[in-house]
């Protein structure tokens, strides 16, 4: 079955390249946001949060959907790594969704003087999606058996991923669309704004990919460490107590992540 040890050096250098690319593109994006993109005629400087808020939202949503696709892969192959990828994608998207809600709230405060705007369908949909995905980890860690945990989490991830677009449609239908804005479509943006937006989107996406890779690498390393420790234990105890140690034979399943990884670095922003 799957063994992670041979691939580790490649993972290391790939991760380094990804991190450097993310940092570089992020720097370029920030430069463009502040020095290249024109000031918005109506909203002035505040409109620059658009270059953070919207990419965050798009990346978080794509991450949620990707988590669902990886969950489908898990249910098809039953390989634990797909479940781990699905977990990391959803976990990171949750953090990005929090950042989306916060930046959206700041923007709402600046534009309309209120921290929350129920007539902004994207923001409202985001809140609902966030509330649903916030139950992902409680569900996961309320299941003891690791295999059932992976299976149930996958069923959740697929259901929730399908829910995302349906929820957006329903909320949008319900909202009187009072504030037509640039959201989601770059076609009506001035070219300089559109270019800045695309680079910002790329930067946020790279940041997401980097953070996900970091978390995956950390989990893989922890699993390897545990396997090695178990092997060492088994070797040390082999002579002394064969019966007692045979219980702790090596297993090939990488263990699932424990809670407490939420302290990952928050996405950096341009403000």
């Amino acid at each position: 079955m799957h063994s992670s040890s041979p691939s580790s050096p490649a993972v290391g250098s790939g991760l380094r390249a990804l991190s450097i690319a993310a940092a570089a593109v992020m720097a370029v994006a920030l430069g463009l946001v502040f020095f290249y993109a024109p000031l918005d005629a109506d909203q002035g400087f505040l409109q620059k949060i658009f270059y953070l808020h919207v990419p965050l939202a798009i990346v978080a949503l794509c991450g949620f959907v990707a988590g669902g696709l990886m969950a489908i892969m898990y249910l098809r192959t039953r390989e634990a790594r797909w479940d781990m990828r699905s977990y990391v994608a959803i976990h990171m998207s949750l953090i990005f969704a929090v950042a989306t809600l916060i930046t959206g709230s700041i923007w709402a405060r600046g534009s309309w003087g209120r921290w929350w705007a129920w007539n902004e369908p994207t923001l409202v949909s985001f809140l609902i999606v966030f509330l649903l995905y916030a139950t992902y980890q409680p569900l996961r860690f309320a299941i003891e058996d690791p295999e059932r945990q992976a299976r149930y989490a996958s069923v959740f991830a697929i259901t929730a991923a399908a829910f995302v677009p349906m929820n957006f449609i329903a909320v949008r239908l319900s909202t009187a669309y009072l504030h037509p804005r640039v959201l989601g479509s770059t076609s009506n943006l001035p070219p300089r704004m559109a270019f800045t937006f695309v680079i910002s989107l790329l930067a946020v996406a790279l940041l997401y990919a980097t953070l996900c890779s970091c978390e995956l690498a950390a989990k893989r390393a922890r699993a390897q460490l545990r396997t090695l420790r178990r092997l060492a234990d088994a070797r040390a105890g082999a002579g002394a107590d064969a019966g007692g140690q045979s219980r702790r034979t090596r297993s090939e399943t990488p263990p699932m992540p424990a809670a407490g990884t939420l302290a990952a670095p928050a996405p950096r922003g341009g403000l």
Partner: protein
């Protein structure tokens, strides 16, 4: 398949008839909630948007009581294993449970809607009742399907009483949006017709979740 669903549904209803754990509890909860709304809002009668909101929130929260109990007997008394040992289609269990929940919801509404009209609703339901029944039926379908999926997801976890509602409520939001918007003109003083787009939204949501539940339910059973 039909024989299996019939056997499962029959067993489900027998247990409910024997223990009366779902329907009376759900109905009583709805009645009590209306009383609570009366005092919380300090209003003797409501109509329109507010009436639709109160009705849907109450029905959904009452439904969650039923959702939480839906698979408890199976999880605790080995019903899952007993079912899995039989050479039958596993989708039959989803269908039978969803039908049972649907029936519970209809029974709940037979109590709750007249009680609502009597206790809180200002305008009369005389002319709009058939449309309201239609809207409620569309909503019930979705609640039954989502409720069954969520119940199966939550029942074999350590925190099932907590996870059931937490998982179900966000998934119910589109039903609340469409259901409440569709029934609000029916509960308004002048009576109106529900906008077709809300009925279409409800129907589409029911259909999509039916497909999702059917595709995923099997994975919740195997071990």
């Amino acid at each position: 398949m039909r024989r299996t669903v019939a056997a499962l549904l029959r067993k489900e209803l027998l247990i409910e008839l024997r223990s009366w754990q779902s329907v009376p509890g759900m109905s009583l909860f709805a009645l009590t909630t209306f009383v609570v709304f009366h005092f919380a809002l300090n209003r003797s009668s409501v109509d329109g948007d507010l009436a639709a909101g109160i009705l849907w929130v109450t029905l959904l929260f009452a439904a969650i009581l039923g959702v939480n109990r839906l698979f408890v007997a199976d999880a605790e008394e080995g019903g899952f294993d007993g079912f899995l040992l039989a050479p039958v289609d596993r989708g039959a269990l989803l269908l039978a449970k969803a039908l049972a929940l649907l029936l519970y919801l209809v029974l709940l509404e037979l109590v709750a809607v007249p009680a609502f009209a009597l206790l809180l609703l200002g305008p009369t339901l005389a002319g709009t009742l058939p449309s309201l029944v239609g809207v409620l039926a569309l909503g019930d379908l979705g609640v039954a399907v989502i409720g069954t999926l969520v119940a199966a997801l939550a029942v074999r976890t350590r925190a099932r009483d907590l996870l059931g509602p937490l998982l179900a409520l966000p998934l119910f939001v589109p039903i609340v949006i469409a259901g409440a918007r569709a029934s609000s003109p029916l509960l308004a003083p002048r009576g109106g017709d529900p906008a077709a787009r809300w009925l279409a939204t409800l129907g589409l949501y029911d259909l999509l979740f039916g497909l999702i539940a059917y595709a995923l339910f099997d994975f919740l059973l195997e071990d």
